[in-house]
Subunit: 163 residues, 2 copies
DNA sequence: CTATGTTATGTTATAATATAACATTATTTG
DNA sequence: CAAATAATGTTATATTATAACATAACATAG
């Protein structure tokens, strides 16, 4: 999870403080309430782990953390929670490296661009209307009904380029 | 593999005939020659299987086909061949469904957009400069050096929407 | 042309990611 | 409370991919 800030392109730019995580979890709870869905202890716990992670995390990493927290957990435990969170737009899945990260803007559905550093794993969620518009146009041309657009850009982040 | 045709946006639009596959394999051989790389029997065989596939295929599907062809083969057999073909830009990997398909334009490196039908698996490779430009711009803004952009759009193709 | 190094392939085992199937528990609702 | 539904627990297994080491094929210098 990352904080929304006011660049010319919307983006996430900081690691979340404890307080920010708490706010995000509250927003998630409200959202589930509004949709008449259960924001269970497990789902909250998984979302919190994803939020607190400095970088996108793998499902088995989350599984380890769940186990360490004392909870009984197996792969389906974490995958089911992640599936729920994905459906609700609270987390994203990066298919290029099979990791999960909290969504920067859970309020409204959107197409996001991810800049994934191949060196350090740091990942920026960016919102780019230009890309979305272009994909919409392209899809229209092929009479293709978009369900989901995965735009995952791998490369070197600023920090890793420097060093 | 799919044929290049002259839409306003470059795209692949047909399933390849035997002849087209032969031409593609010859181009691949030439390209390897030029680069002083070995276009071995295995690599050629894997590329041909990928080309002939109606749709993007999984590695283990290719493995089965290799075995059926009488060749001794294990997972590394096919993954190594695929890695080579990926490096040479002769095939693409779709990370959203872990499949491989022949590149429509192996001549020059490029960023491609894939329209992947979630119903029938049919996949269009499309080239969209607008998307590339926008991603380049976005990367620049973050001082991010792009290595690879995976743009995979899942949805319903024209045929599947209709029915 | 053969010795030597290098590249490619064969082979076995295993890692990493994800789901199926069924049992149990918790929650909602009639 | 009873029945229905939704969520979680649990065991097993499917799917995708790589590690590690042995052998074979090819390239090239002598």
């Amino acid at each position: 999870m990352t904080e929304h800030c006011s660049h010319s392109d919307l983006t996430s730019c900081t690691q979340p403080s404890s307080e920010q995580v708490a706010i995000f979890l509250q927003q998630a709870a409200d959202l589930c309430d509004k949709r008449n869905l259960r924001f269970t202890r497990l789902r909250k716990q998984v979302l919190e782990l994803v939020c607190r992670a400095e970088q996108p995390v793998g499902a088995y990493h989350l599984l380890d953390e769940l186990k360490q927290s004392g909870r009984s957990a197996a792969p389906p435990t974490v995958y089911r929670a992640l599936d729920f969170l994905l459906e609700q737009g609270l987390v994203h899945r990066l298919s290029t490296n099979n990791t999960y990260l909290a969504c920067a803007h859970p309020q409204h559905p959107h197409g996001a661009v991810f800049l994934v550093c191949s060196e350090c794993g740091h990942t920026q969620e960016v919102h780019n209307e230009g890309v979305n518009d272009e994909l919409d146009r392209q899809a229209k041309q092929f009479d293709f009904a978009i369900q989901h657009a995965a735009v995952e850009v791998t490369g070197l982040c600023s920090r890793c380029r420097g060093s």
